[in-house]
C-alpha cells in the first residue's frame, strides 16, 4: 500500500498536472468549494421564491426543489451530461458538467435549509423591521438572512461534506477528480484494487472527518453564544 502511495501520491493529489489537466484531490476540493459557493446564491433565491406571496414565483421554485430532491444525483448528472450540450450548442467537459449538476442539486437542498431557517426565526423580527419602515430588501438582507446564515453555519459545513462525497460521482462522466485518479491507478496496477480503493477511502475519510469535527466544534460554540441570538425572551 505504501508503495502505491509512494508511486502515485502526486496523481492522487493533483492529477496529471502539469502534464495534463488538474485533477485528483485538488479537483475534488475545487469542485466542492466552487459547487457550494455557486449554489449558495441560487439557494437563497430559491428559498425566497418558495416563501414569496406571489404564486408565479413560488410555484416554479417549489417545482424545481421537489423534482431535483426527488432524483438521485447520478441521474441528474446523466441528464446534465446529455442535455446541457444540446441546450447551449457545444460540447461540455466532464468537470463543467459535474459542476453544473452539483450547483443545481446542492442549491435545492440548501434552499430547504435556508427556508427552514427563515421560517424558524421569531415573527417579531420581521414585524420589528416592518414597524421601522424597512421594505422587503433591507428586511431580508439586513435583518433576516444574517441571522439565518449565522444559525446555519453548522449545517452548511455538513452540506459541504456531502458535496465532497458527491463529487465522486463525477467518475462516471470522466470528471478527473480523486476517484477518477484512483481508478486510473487501479487500471494501471490491475491487481491491487483493495489497496488502491483503500487509499481512496482513507483520503475521503480524513477530509470529511476533519470537516465534521469542525462542524461539531462550531455548533457547540454557536449554541454557547446564542444566548440572545435567534432566541429571544418572548
Amino acid at each position: 500500500m505504501l508503495q502505491i502511495l509512494k508511486d502515485n501520491w502526486l496523481l492522487f493529489l493533483i492529477g496529471q498536472y502539469p502534464h495534463g489537466p488538474v485533477g485528483g484531490l485538488a479537483m475534488t476540493v475545487f469542485l466542492a468549494v466552487l459547487g457550494l459557493s455557486l449554489s449558495f446564491p441560487v439557494a437563497i433565491g430559491l428559498a425566497l421564491a418558495r416563501l414569496s406571496p406571489y404564486r408565479w414565483l413560488r410555484a416554479p421554485a417549489t417545482a424545481v426543489v421537489y423534482v431535483v430532491r426527488g432524483l438521485p444525483l447520478i441521474m441528474f448528472i446523466f441528464w446534465t451530461y446529455f442535455a446541457l450540450p444540446l441546450l447551449i450548442g457545444h460540447a461540455v467537459g466532464g468537470v463543467e458538467t459535474l459542476l453544473f449538476a452539483l450547483v443545481v442539486y446542492e442549491a435545492s437542498y440548501l434552499s430547504e435549509i435556508i427556508r427552514a431557517g427563515i421560517e424558524g426565526l421569531p415573527k417579531g423580527q420581521t414585524e420589528a423591521a416592518k414597524a421601522l419602515g424597512l421594505g422587503y430588501i433591507p428586511t431580508t438582507f439586513n435583518v433576516i438572512l444574517p441571522q439565518v446564515l449565522h444559525n446555519m453555519l453548522p449545517s452548511l459545513v455538513s452540506q459541504f461534506v456531502s458535496t465532497i462525497k458527491e463529487t465522486s460521482l463525477g467518475y462516471v462522466i470522466s470528471a478527473n477528480e480523486v476517484t477518477f485518479a484512483a481508478s486510473q491507478v487501479n487500471n494501471q496496477l490491475m491487481t491491487q484494487p483493495f489497496e488502491v480503493y483503500g487509499l481512496l477511502a482513507l483520503t475521503y475519510f480524513t477530509l470529511c472527518f476533519t470537516l465534521t469535527s469542525a462542524a461539531r466544534w462550531l455548533e457547540r460554540r454557536l449554541t454557547a453564544e446564542r444566548g440572545g441570538l435567534g432566541v429571544q425572551l418572548a
Binding site: A128, K130, A131, L132, L233
Partner: protein
Amino acid sequence: MIRFETVEKWYGQHQVLAGVTGEVKRGEVVTLIGSSGSGKSTLIRTVTRLENVQGGKVLFEGVDVAGRSVDINRLRQRIGFVFQAFNLFPHLTAAGNITLGLERLRKMRKAAARERAMTELHRVGLADKADMLPSRLSGGQRQRVAIARALAMDPDVMLFDEPTSALDPEMVGEVLRVMKTLAQNGMTMVVVTHEIGFAREVADTVWFLDKGQIVESGPPAGVLDNAGDGRLRSFLSRTC
C-alpha cells in the same frame, strides 16, 4: 392625529375589534387598558398596518392607512412602535439596531447615523452599552434600546404594546421613567399597558376596552376612580 372609525376585525369566526371609534390628538397620551383578549394590542397594531382591518377605517392625519396611494413604509417611519418582546435584532449591537434604519431609510452616512444613535442611547441612559449585543443586556435595557431605535426615526407618534409586560418587576420602573419623560416632552403616545399607576399618572385619556369595544374613555381620574361600569370595576379590582 389618529382616528379609528368603527374599526372591525375578525380572526376567523372570532371578532377581536367590534366597531372601535376614537381619536388620539397631537400631543396627547392615551393609555389602553383592558383584560387580555380585549383587542387593545390589535387596535394599535392596525395603525401601522401590522394588522389589516376588515371593517371601518384607521386614519393617520386624515389619511386612510389602508389606502392604495399610501406608501406604507414611509408611513411606518412616522409611527414608532415598541413591542412587548422588544424584538431587537440580535445580530446587531445596541447602536447597530438604531443605525440600520437611519442608514437604510434616511440614507445617513455611517458616522452621522452613529452620532444620532448615540444621542438616542444617551436619552434612554444607555450610551455606555452602545457596542453590546442585545444578548448582553438586561430586559429593561433591551426595551430602552428598542425605544431609542423607534425614536431615532423622528416619529410623530409612539405606539407602545405592553412595553413592560415581559420585564422582571425591578426593571419596569426604568422603562416607565423613559416613557414618562417622553410624554412630558410632548410626544403623542398610545400605550397599551397593565400599569394602572402609569395610566393614572401620565395619561391624558384612558380607554377601557372590553370585547373589542371602547367601553369607557376619559381622563384617568374620571375613568379609573369612578368606575361606574361593572366590567371596568371588576377589571380594576382584579388588577389593582
